[in-house]
C-alpha cells in the first residue's frame, strides 16, 4: 500500500506519464485515424490491420490504453497535489515574524553592518517603510517585507486546471453529441446523424434550410459559404438566421456549423407575377415543372458550369396554350417574360456540423485557470526580506532575504537594497 502511495505521489511518475503520452500520441498522427479495417488492410497489410484493431489504433485517442494513461495522469496529479498541498498551505499561512532564528541564519542572502550609533536609525526605519517593510514587533527590532506567499499555489492551480479540462471533456463525452446532416434547400429535418455511430439523433425541434449560397472573390476563390436556417418548434418558426463558417447558430444548447455543401443537378426556379409574391420550384435538369394556378409549364434546357459553379442557363416557359419561349439567364439574374418575373439558380444542400457540448464552459474555465496558474507559478515569487536592528547600540544590523523563485533577479534587488541601506547608514 505504501509503495503504491509513493508511486502515485511521485513526480517521477508524472514525468513518465507525460513522456508516454507524448510518444504514443505520435502514432495517431502517422497512422490515419477512423478508417475501416479494409482500408488499413490495403494500405498496410491484413496482419497489421488486425494488430491495429486489437490495440484500438484506428481510434487510439479514445482507446482504453490512451484514456488509461490520461486517467493515471489525473490520479497522479491529484495525489501529488494532495500530498504537497498541506505543507504549502502551512508555508503560506506562516507568520514571517515567527521564522526561527536558525532558519534565518540559513537563508541564502545575508548582509550585516556594525552598529553605527542610533543617529542613523530613524532614517533607516524611514527607508525600510518606504521599501514596503513593516515593523514586526513593538520594540521595532525586526522589520519584514514579504510578498507573493500565495504564488506558491501557482503549480497547484495549473494541476487543478488540467483536472477541470478533463472534467469538461468527460461531460462533453457523456452528455453531448457530435453529428452532421446534409440538408437540401427548402427541406427541413428534426434528426441529425451521429459522427461515430451514424445513428439518427432527435434534435427535439426542426431546422429548415431556406437558402444556401456561395460568394466568390474576383479571382474565383470562395469567399463565404452561407446558409439561411430557420428553427421551428411545433411547426412555428422561432429563429431565422444566416450562418457562415465561423458564425454558427445556437438553439437549445445545440449548435449548427456551416461545414460543407453539395451541388445538385437540380435547379430552383422562382416565378412571380409582376407585383405578386415569388413561388419557388425545385426543377430537375431537363424535366418539366408546372405552376398549375397560372397555367404555366417550364424547365431547364441547358446549363453552363464553371467547375461545379453554375454560370448560365437556358430556360423554356410556356404560358397556357401559347408557343413555348426560351430565355438565357445568368445564375441568379432576374429576367422577364410576359407578365412574369423569373429567376433561376442551382440547388444545393448545405452540410451542417451539429454539436452539443455542455462541457465547453468547464473546459474554457480550465483554460483560463491554466494561464493564470502558469503566470502565478512562473512570474510571481514568494519573497521574504528581514531587517534585524539590535536592541542596544552594540550588535550588528542585519539584512536577510530568501525567495522561492528567480534567485538571480532577487539577488539583484537584494544588492540594490543593500546599497541603499549602506548609504543611509553612512549618512
Amino acid at each position: 500500500m505504501r509503495n503504491i502511495r509513493q508511486l502515485f505521489t511521485s513526480v517521477r511518475l508524472a514525468i513518465f506519464l507525460l513522456a508516454a503520452l507524448a510518444v504514443t500520441s505520435i502514432i495517431g498522427t502517422i497512422i490515419p485515424q477512423h478508417q475501416t479495417y479494409e482500408w488499413y488492410a490495403e494500405r498496410y497489410s491484413p496482419h497489421l490491420a488486425t494488430f491495429f484493431q486489437v490495440l484500438d489504433i484506428p481510434a487510439m485517442y479514445g482507446s482504453w490504453w490512451f484514456t488509461g494513461l490520461l486517467a493515471l495522469l489525473a490520479i497522479n496529479l491529484i495525489a501529488c497535489s494532495l500530498e504537497r498541498l498541506p505543507k504549502v498551505l502551512a508555508l503560506i499561512q506562516a507568520d514571517p515574524a515567527a521564522t526561527p532564528a536558525l532558519r534565518l541564519e540559513k537563508m541564502p542572502l545575508q548582509a550585516r553592518w556594525p552598529q553605527v550609533g542610533n543617529a542613523a536609525l530613524p532614517s533607516l526605519k524611514k527607508l525600510l517603510v518606504a521599501r514596503g517593510f513593516t515593523a514586526a514587533n513593538d520594540a521595532e527590532t525586526l522589520f519584514i517585507a514579504a510578498k507573493g506567499a500565495w504564488s506558491r499555489l501557482g503549480a497547484y492551480i495549473v494541476h487543478l486546471s488540467i483536472l477541470v479540462i478533463f472534467a469538461g471533456a468527460l461531460i462533453g463525452q457523456y452528455y453531448g453529441f457530435k453529428g452532421s446532416v446534409m440538408l437540401p434547400e427548402g427541406k427541413s429535418t428534426d434528426v441529425v446523424f451521429l459522427n461515430q455511430s451514424h445513428q439518427a439523433k432527435n434534435l427535439g425541434f426542426t431546422v429548415r434550410c431556406d437558402l444556401f449560397a456561395i460568394e466568390y472573390y474576383d479571382n474565383g476563390m470562395p469567399k463565404e459559404y452561407l446558409s439561411r436556417l430557420t428553427v421551428l418548434e411545433n411547426g412555428t418558426p422561432v429563429v431565422s438566421r444566416d450562418i457562415e463558417v465561423n458564425k454558427p447558430l445556437r438553439h437549445n444548447g445545440i449548435t449548427f456549423y456551416q461545414a460543407s455543401y453539395q451541388p445538385f443537378q437540380d435547379f430552383i426556379i422562382e416565378l412571380a407575377k409582376k407585383s405578386g409574391p415569388r413561388h419557388a420550384f425545385t426543377v430537375p435538369y431537363q424535366k418539366q415543372e408546372e405552376w398549375s394556378e397560372e397555367g404555366l409549364a417550364f424547365g431547364v434546357i441547358s446549363a453552363e458550369a464553371l467547375g461545379q459553379r453554375l454560370e448560365r442557363l437556358k430556360l423554356w416557359l410556356k404560358i397556357g396554350a401559347a408557343e413555348a419561349v426560351t430565355l438565357n439567364l445568368a445564375a441568379g439574374e432576374e429576367g422577364e417574360l410576359g407578365p412574369y418575373k423569373i429567376r433561376a439558380r442551382q440547388l444545393y444542400a448545405t452540410g451542417l456540423q451539429v454539436a452539443k457540448d455542455p462541457g465547453v464552459p468547464l473546459v474554457y474555465l480550465g483554460c483560463g485557470l491554466l494561464i493564470f496558474g502558469l503566470y502565478t507559478a512562473f512570474f510571481q515569487a514568494h519573497r521574504r526580506l528581514f531587517v534585524i536592528l539590535p536592541p542596544t547600540s552594540s550588535g550588528d544590523i542585519r539584512l536577510i532575504g530568501a525567495t522561492n523563485k528567480n534567485r538571480l533577479g532577487f539577488a539583484r534587488d537584494f544588492a540594490t537594497l543593500r546599497a541603499e541601506i549602506d548609504n543611509t547608514l553612512k549618512g
Binding site: V245, C367, I371, F378
Partner: protein
C-alpha cells in the same frame, strides 16, 4: 516600393547581421558587436515596415486581412518575433553573443520564406475557414511562443559553446554559465506560456468554426506533444534539479519538436491545417 522589396531587404540585413555577430564572436571587437546590433535593429525595422505595408496592400487589393494567413506570412512573422525577442533580451541582459545564433535563425526563416519554390508569396484573400477574429490571436500567440523556444535553443547553443569552448578567449566573452542557465529557463517558461495560450486560442477557434475544441488532428496533437515535452523539461528542472547542459540540450531538442509541429506536420502529415502548407 512594395512589401516584398522591404522584406527582401530584411533578409539581406539579417544575413549581414549574422556575419557581423560571427565576426564579433571571433574577434570580440566591441565596435563589431555594436554594428551587428545596429544592423539587427535596422532589419527588424524594415521587417516591421514590410509586414505593415503588406497588411495595407491587402486592403488595397480589396479584402484586407492581417498578414498571418499562410506559410510565407507565418514564417516572416516567426522571423520578426525572433528578432524582436532577441533584441529585448540583449537590451535587458547584455547577451549580445546570443545574436550569433538568433540572427542566423531570423535570416534562415526569411530566406526559407523568400526563396523556397512552392511557397506562395502572393497576397491571397482568406478562405471562409480563416475568416475569424481568432486568427490573429491564434497565430500571434503561437509564434511568440515558437520564437521564445527558438531563442531558448540559441541560448542552449551558447551554453554548450561556453562549456566546451576550445580557447579561454572565446569562453571569456560569453556570459557566465549560471546567467545563461537562468536565461534558458526564463525563455522556456516564456515560450511555454505562449504555446499554452496558442493551443487554447486554437481550441476556442476550432470550437467556433467546427464545433469541436479538440479533434486530435495531427497539428493539434503535435502542438500537444511539444507542450508535453516542455512540461517534462520544466518538471525535471524543478523537481529533479536538471540544469546546465541538460536543460541546454532539452531547449535544443525542443526546438525540433516545435519545427516539426510548425513545418513537418504541414508537409508530411495531412489534416485540418492544410492551408498552412502553401
Amino acid at each position: 516600393m512594395d512589401s516584398s522589396f522591404l522584406l527582401g531587404l530584411t533578409t539581406f540585413a539579417y544575413l549581414g547581421a549574422s556575419f557581423l555577430y560571427v565576426a564579433f564572436c571571433l574577434y570580440h571587437a566591441d565596435k563589431i558587436g555594436k554594428a551587428a546590433t545596429v544592423v539587427t535593429v535596422a532589419a527588424l525595422a524594415l521587417q516591421t515596415a514590410g509586414i505593415g505595408l503588406r497588411w495595407w496592400e491587402s486592403y488595397r487589393l480589396g479584402f484586407g486581412h492581417a498578414p498571418l494567413t499562410n506559410m510565407y506570412e507565418s514564417v516572416v512573422f516567426f522571423s520578426w518575433a525572433i528578432g524582436l525577442f532577441y533584441l529585448i533580451l540583449t537590451w535587458k541582459y547584455r547577451a549580445r553573443i546570443l545574436g550569433a545564433f538568433a540572427a542566423p535563425l531570423a535570416f534562415l526563416a526569411m530566406a526559407y520564406a523568400s526563396f523556397t519554390p512552392g511557397i506562395s508569396r502572393a497576397i491571397a484573400p482568406l478562405i471562409p475557414a480563416l475568416q475569424s477574429n481568432w486568427l490573429i490571436a491564434h497565430v500571434v500567440t503561437c509564434f511568440i511562443g515558437y520564437a521564445g523556444f527558438a531563442v531558448a535553443a540559441a541560448l542552449g547553443c551558447v551554453y554548450l559553446l561556453k562549456e566546451r569552448a576550445m580557447t579561454k578567449s572565446i569562453a571569456s566573452h560569453l556570459p557566465e554559465r549560471d546567467i545563461l542557465d537562468d536565461l534558458i529557463h526564463k525563455t522556456l517558461i516564456f515560450g511555454f506560456i505562449w504555446l499554452s495560450a496558442g493551443i487554447i486560442t486554437g481550441a476556442v477557434w476550432a470550437d467556433s468554426a467546427w464545433g469541436t475544441y479538440w479533434s486530435w488532428d495531427p497539428k493539434e496533437t503535435w502542438s500537444l506533444i511539444t507542450w508535453f515535452f516542455y512540461a517534462i523539461t520544466l518538471h525535471a528542472r524543478y523537481t529533479r534539479g536538471w540544469n546546465g547542459a541538460r536543460i541546454a540540450w532539452m531547449a535544443i531538442i525542443g526546438l525540433f519538436c516545435v519545427l516539426f509541429t510548425y513545418y513537418g506536420v504541414n508537409f508530411l502529415l495531412s489534416g485540418l491545417h492544410s492551408y498552412g502548407s502553401n
